[in-house]
Subunit: 360 residues, 2 copies
Amino acid sequence: MTDRSRLEKILQRLDGMKLRQMMICDPTAIFYLTGKWIFPGERFLGLLISRDREPVLFVNELFQFDEEIGAQKVYFSDTDNIIPLLKEKVQADQALGVDKIMAARFLLPMMEQHVAKSFANTSPAVDLSRAVKDAAEQEKMRRSSHVNDLAMEQFKKLIHAGVTELEVAEQMLGIYKSLGASGYSFDPIVAFGGNAADGHHMPDETVLRDGDCVLLDVGCIVDNYCSDMTRTFFWKKEPDEKAREVYELTRRANQEAEDMLIAGIPLMSVDKMARDIITEGGYGPNFTHRLGHFIGIEDHEFGDVSQANENLTEVGNTFSIEPGIYVPGAVGVRIEDLVLITSEGHEILNHYSKEIEVLG
Amino acid sequence: MTDRSRLEKILQRLDGMKLRQMMICDPTAIFYLTGKWIFPGERFLGLLISRDREPVLFVNELFQFDEEIGAQKVYFSDTDNIIPLLKEKVQADQALGVDKIMAARFLLPMMEQHVAKSFANTSPAVDLSRAVKDAAEQEKMRRSSHVNDLAMEQFKKLIHAGVTELEVAEQMLGIYKSLGASGYSFDPIVAFGGNAADGHHMPDETVLRDGDCVLLDVGCIVDNYCSDMTRTFFWKKEPDEKAREVYELTRRANQEAEDMLIAGIPLMSVDKMARDIITEGGYGPNFTHRLGHFIGIEDHEFGDVSQANENLTEVGNTFSIEPGIYVPGAVGVRIEDLVLITSEGHEILNHYSKEIEVLG
């Protein structure tokens, strides 16, 4: 393994589940452990980790590579039957943990041909380990959000009279790349006026009008780690009384939820802080989603900041704080930051201003 | 179902497997049957089809919709346990076919809680049905390839002195959209000179040089159906003797494989026709992939034209014929068309010229 300490974290969690071996399929998790990206498409890909043996990577010969990844490589061809190959390495008299995304076309034959004694979804062992970023990951998260800050400065300049949402969105990738990002962490959301109140809105031919709010929810990938930030601007006119009320309430919910962040508090209590502020302000029903999601190699990783999540924050967690108030047909405001839980409390990873900003 | 005849085709194939019910998870297959796209991400999505009951769609309430799709809708929330909901509709005393992509996080609890008597991967029932395009699908495949022909005319004009592969590639999406396509069917391949001989090459900062071959492997989506075509041009200079030999051999392999196409012949015999021509010409080891893949709603669908596929062509099959010869560091030529098997023989879906063309 490129990173033995990450492997050990996962094996310890497997110990707690009374399992000694697991087949990891998720390319993202395999990258996390080996530093190697492999996208097998419909073909099998599995990293077998075990308390008793060295890791083994099963990979189609189409994706052969020379790098040393600290795991034995077992190659197979499109015409090979992989089950006998798996049987050589998996301990058949023991249970096997499998990845939550392992597909039926692999899992069913493994079960029918008794590759292991029993099978269990042990993805939480991987997911909970990944939710705690180590120092190297934290630094990459900072850099990705720094690029996102720089990009937001430039995105703002794309807003001008007559522009459409799509015209703005289509220029973002080039800006990210010029700043050193490898791509989007998700397709950017650009929403003008009433569109900003529609949670499912994708950038379209809507033309900017004076007085519109301009919601930009954007993120990029830098050195394999994701950023994600939302800012809501106004075009040409100061926001009217209602829009200002919505903005200030959203901002206060964002700020107070962030201010309370330390290790060891229930994630649901953070959601509650923001939700209570918005509810007391009279907009409870207009805050239609959870407060945040975990993020890292993927934009949405296991873990969230929601009313249902009783788990406690841990040092190394990185997640979004993104309250929003959506008034159908009128205005939508969302203010989103990424945060890192630290031993001192927390660190905000992006730094773009949250003051009301009127463009144009 | 939007299309009862498609459902009936699948149920007939299930009959042949002695199964009366199947849970389909693949969003593409669900679109094929209902005309409705739903991308559930990590959440459960299943279309239960049965000989005995009306179809039932299990879908998270986040993706609620009004359209009538000929299936009962069962909504659930993020906090609901879906197993009891499935138990209400699946016949527990019978086997259940499942989709090859069904994830372990759903399949394992379904097995542990005895949602059905047994479980089998019955995706071939869906895949083999989808491999035979009906008249409406054939027409959409024609339209998509027609747009691809028009686009190729414009892509050619992007080639000029000093341009990089990436600069060419980045202009393609706009051209496709201006022609009515909704997007790429896959990320376009633009490869100059020796890069064209690398099967894994992605467009990069390589600058065009006089005498380079210019390989464009491109496709778009029109009305949900994919096109896919490859043409290899030359820049500024007539190809040298070697490049001309490679081009003409590739072209003949493409042409003779297409000329033989009728319903009822083994797909492996089509691959053999092209491979034998290239082998006899002395470039067998330089033709490093299968001759073609099936295509439709997805760029790569179940079914291929390879040495291993004994299946016979059927009226309604649509697949690619794409021989290539790759001479490392020097030149790469691939010529790819999409074909439709008809009762009269076959139809080529794209029409861009395959003559040697020197640009600039």
